[in-house]
């Protein structure tokens, strides 16, 4: 079964090393799957970082992505690079995580913003925390659209493809998300907190 499906992979999208490791993983080779994890963990973990900044939650998300990938590996058609496929799984896993958190009513505090005096020299980590806290004010579908646009450089079509949504739905969610985000930023006095009122 494994050899047949691997033979169909597009050599332009799936490189030889991945192809061999996928094939070996499908045959039950643990070491091969560990190699795949190590190869793509930085990419998956950096996307997971946009879904959860808490170390334990993020670690669990990364694990969930690879566990899900393992059980879906025989469904990987190879018409896109393995990394794209894994990031797609990561997006869905992260989105489910947000929906669960939203149901539980948990929300990141906006107090994560640095004091105004430090705003001009604000470091990337503080900016990341601030954006994360602001986006957390949006409903999960809108939050997802902006997160993928901002941090994964995704186009409307890519988001639609990744989530199985229509392009119109993505556009509508992006529009609503921006409008809502502006309202949140005004309500939370974002500019004053950042010291960018000039």
């Amino acid at each position: 079964m494994a050899a047949g499906s691997i033979a169909m992979y597009n050599a332009e999208t799936v490189d030889e090393t991945d192809r061999q490791d996928i094939q070996a993983s499908l045959g039950g080779d643990e070491a091969a799957f560990a190699r795949l994890i190590r190869r793509y963990e930085p990419s998956v973990a950096s996307l997971a970082w946009r879904f959860a900044r808490d170390a334990a939650a993020r670690e669990e998300l990364v694990q969930d992505v690879f566990v899900e990938a393992y059980f879906s590996l025989d469904g990987f058609r190879g018409d896109a690079p393995l990394e794209h496929w894994l990031r797609r799984i990561a997006t869905r896993v992260g989105y489910r995580f947000w929906k669960r958190r939203a149901r539980e009513g948990r929300e990141a505090p906006l107090a994560d913003l640095d004091p105004p005096a430090a705003a001009v020299e604000m470091d990337p980590s503080a900016a990341g925390a601030a954006v994360h806290a602001l986006l957390a004010r949006l409903p999960p579908p809108e939050r997802l659209v902006l997160t993928l646009m901002y941090f994964d450089d995704c186009s409307v079509s890519e988001i639609a493809g990744r989530m199985g949504w229509t392009r119109a739905m993505v556009k509508m969610r992006a529009y609503r998300a921006r409008r809502r985000l502006k309202a949140v930023a005004q309500r939370e006095h974002l500019l004053e907190k950042l010291g960018w009122t000039k």
Binding site: S25, E41, V67, P124, A127, A130, Q186, L190, W196
Partner: protein
């Protein structure tokens, strides 16, 4: 400065952030071994499921054949009883 412009600046800055590293491989493999099992271990439950489904399908097939060959008219089963009664 407009709020959305500020947001764009924040996002641009946030994109330069380097997320902390993770090492998920040992935990993922442990979860696969402990929970659902690695691929070799997955074949057995699937084959058991296939066997159960095959047995169920066979039973349904036998019942369907019996139903198909039985008299179409439900009153037909009453005739032998009536014959005995008239004698």
């Amino acid at each position: 400065m407009d709020e959305m412009k500020a947001m764009e600046n924040l996002v641009r800055l946030a994109c330069r952030e380097r997320p902390p590293e993770t090492d998920a491989a040992p935990a993922v493999l442990a979860r696969l071994r402990a929970g659902a099992g690695l691929r070799t271990g997955r074949v057995l439950p699937l084959s058991v499921l296939a066997a159960v489904a095959a047995v169920a399908a066979a039973v349904i097939l036998v019942l369907a054949i019996q139903a198909w060959t039985a008299p179409a008219d439900p009153q037909a089963v009453l005739f032998p009883v009536l014959e005995v009664a008239s004698l």
